[in-house]
């Protein structure tokens, strides 16, 4: 479990996050949604420690991450996996070397053990046979899957995903969502996903938090989205007339 307590973040005079408090539960997919500029990426970077909050605290379980020394933070980070928007795969390394990198860097496993773990992770993301390919030789969807494989290779307790579906076609995006959901449940991880993909919200949103102009505008789960009378949420989720018609039809059917 991760807790954010009264998080504020300013860049100069501009306050990007205005006192966010929320809990990200273990074994669930916790989604942070909101329009561009709402502060989603800043919040995610604060949670993983890539930025420091102007005010507030971040707790990993019972440990206050905000007050930790650099060395202690490194120990926590061994338990963190992150999937970046652009996958952030190392260009000079093959798929296999990318996934093996954390094992090479932090474990004393034998070559055979590492290979077994790499193969297992690639199998889980359905990338068997792509071991020797370089990132430039793979599609966007494959790169995301390699990114997921790399982020779970050390069996982390916490998984962060920044816009996992950006740039992917709807079918591949669904596969990535399914994959993240499955891994979260099977490994009992605390997964935090930053997205503005509506399919993700409705498919895998165990916990959903809507940010609006740096404030927490709504919290709930996917089954509460349709019934919510929060205007900001409705405007955001059902932004297009097509989606609004779908929502109305769905509501009609439930009545």
């Amino acid at each position: 479990m991760i807790r954010a307590v009264d998080i504020r973040k300013s860049f100069g005079e501009t306050e990007v996050l205005k006192g966010i408090s929320m809990t990200f539960e273990k074994g669930k997919t916790n989604l942070i949604i909101g329009r561009s500029g709402a502060g989603k990426t800043v919040l995610l970077k604060l949670l993983v420690g890539l930025m420091e909050p102007t005010q507030g605290e971040i707790w990993y379980g019972n440990d206050n991450f905000s007050e930790m020394e650099k060395k202690q933070r490194r120990a926590i980070r061994m338990e963190v996996g992150m999937l970046f928007q652009g996958s952030a795969l190392f260009d000079s390394m093959t798929v296999e070397e990318n996934v093996r990198f954390p094992l090479d860097m932090f474990t004393n496993m034998t070559r055979k053990e590492k290979q077994k773990q790499v193969d297992y992770c690639l199998e889980r993301v359905e990338l068997v046979g792509a071991n020797k390919k370089f990132p430039s030789e793979t599609s966007g969807g494959m790169q995301k899957r390699v990114g997921i494989a790399r982020s779970i290779v050390l069996n982390p307790k916490y998984l962060f995903c920044d816009e996992p579906n950006s740039g992917l076609d709807p079918k591949t995006a669904l596969l990535i969502d399914e994959l993240i959901k499955r891994i979260t449940y099977e490994n009992e991880m605390t997964t935090i996903i930053n997205t503005h993909d509506m399919n993700s919200v409705m498919e895998i949103g165990d916990n959903i938090a809507l940010l609006y102009l740096g404030e927490l505008a709504w919290q709930g789960n996917k089954s509460e989205v349709l019934d919510s009378d929060n205007e900001l949420l409705q405007d955001f989720i059902f932004a297009s007339p097509f989606l609004q018609r779908l929502r109305d039809a769905a509501l009609q059917n439930t009545k």
């Binding site: 120990a75 980070r77 061994m78 996996g81 652009g86 952030a88 260009d91 090479d104 932090f106």
Partner: protein, 235 residues
């Protein structure tokens, strides 16, 4: 501060060793051709121009070998080679690290728990400190060879005269000075370039600016250090 973070205990020695070897290949082996071409012309031009200056004077012509040797060892090989390497290696280091910053590779490593300042910078600094002095020594040797080709093969002086010049007034202090210069210049060009790349912000324009700044600042600092070392070691 970046340097202090960079010089810390490696997470995994074998990974740092592997990266250092890769950098040695990039910085050292990858620069042999450019350094050799520059060195041979430096020696050749120094010999021809000194022969021109000696024309009609009472200074013996075998001094050409002596002047080529000493000017190469003391100044031209370390300084010119490192100015060129600041352009080739320095801009490469800044672009490589800066590109990693922009593509979130550094963030990805940070989240894994890697000390990125150390993993990305330390191997480059060590590789520079090992390989650049070797390149400079090679440049000095090739420069002297260039001087021989232009003056002896070019018919300005005889083989014996050039050798006599080369063997005269030799001071091993000059070689020590060359090695000290190359070590200091190597440190400057690797650290300045790494700093510029590590803290790059923005897009491709900023990356280009960081790469240019790496070269410009390295060149200025190398020339400044050259002056200070010359003052200190020639007293």
């Amino acid at each position: 501060m970046l340097l202090r973070t960079a010089i810390s205990r490696p997470e995994k020695f074998s990974m740092y060793w592997k990266e250092t070897m890769r950098q040695m290949d990039d910085i050292g082996v990858g620069s042999i051709i450019i350094v050799s071409i520059i060195a041979i012309f430096i020696g050749a031009v120094t010999a021809v121009q000194f022969a021109y200056q000696l024309d009609g004077t009472l200074v013996p012509r075998w001094y050409i070998g002596y002047i080529v040797r000493d000017s190469t060892i003391i100044e031209l090989a370390p300084t010119i080679s490192c100015l060129v390497l600041a352009g080739k290696v320095g801009s490469n280091i800044a672009a490589e690290i800066g590109g990693m910053r922009q593509k979130e590779h550094i963030d990805a490593m940070e989240i894994m728990g890697v000390n990125t300042a150390s993993y990305l910078i330390l191997p480059k600094v060590i590789a520079g400190l090992v390989m650049i002095p070797i390149l400079v020594c090679m440049a000095a040797f090739i420069s002297i060879l260039g001087g021989y080709l232009s003056s002896v093969v070019g018919g300005l002086i005889t083989h014996e005269e050039y050798l006599r010049g080369l063997r005269s007034f030799f001071s091993d202090h000059n070689v020590v000075m060359m090695v000290i210069k190359s070590l200091v210049f190597a440190f400057i060009l690797t650290t300045v370039s790494a700093y510029q790349g590590y803290y790059v912000k923005g897009g491709s324009i900023e990356l280009g600016q960081a790469s240019t700044q790496a070269v410009v600042y390295s060149d200025i600092l190398i020339l400044l250090a050259d002056y200070v070392i010359a003052l200190l070691l020639t007293q």
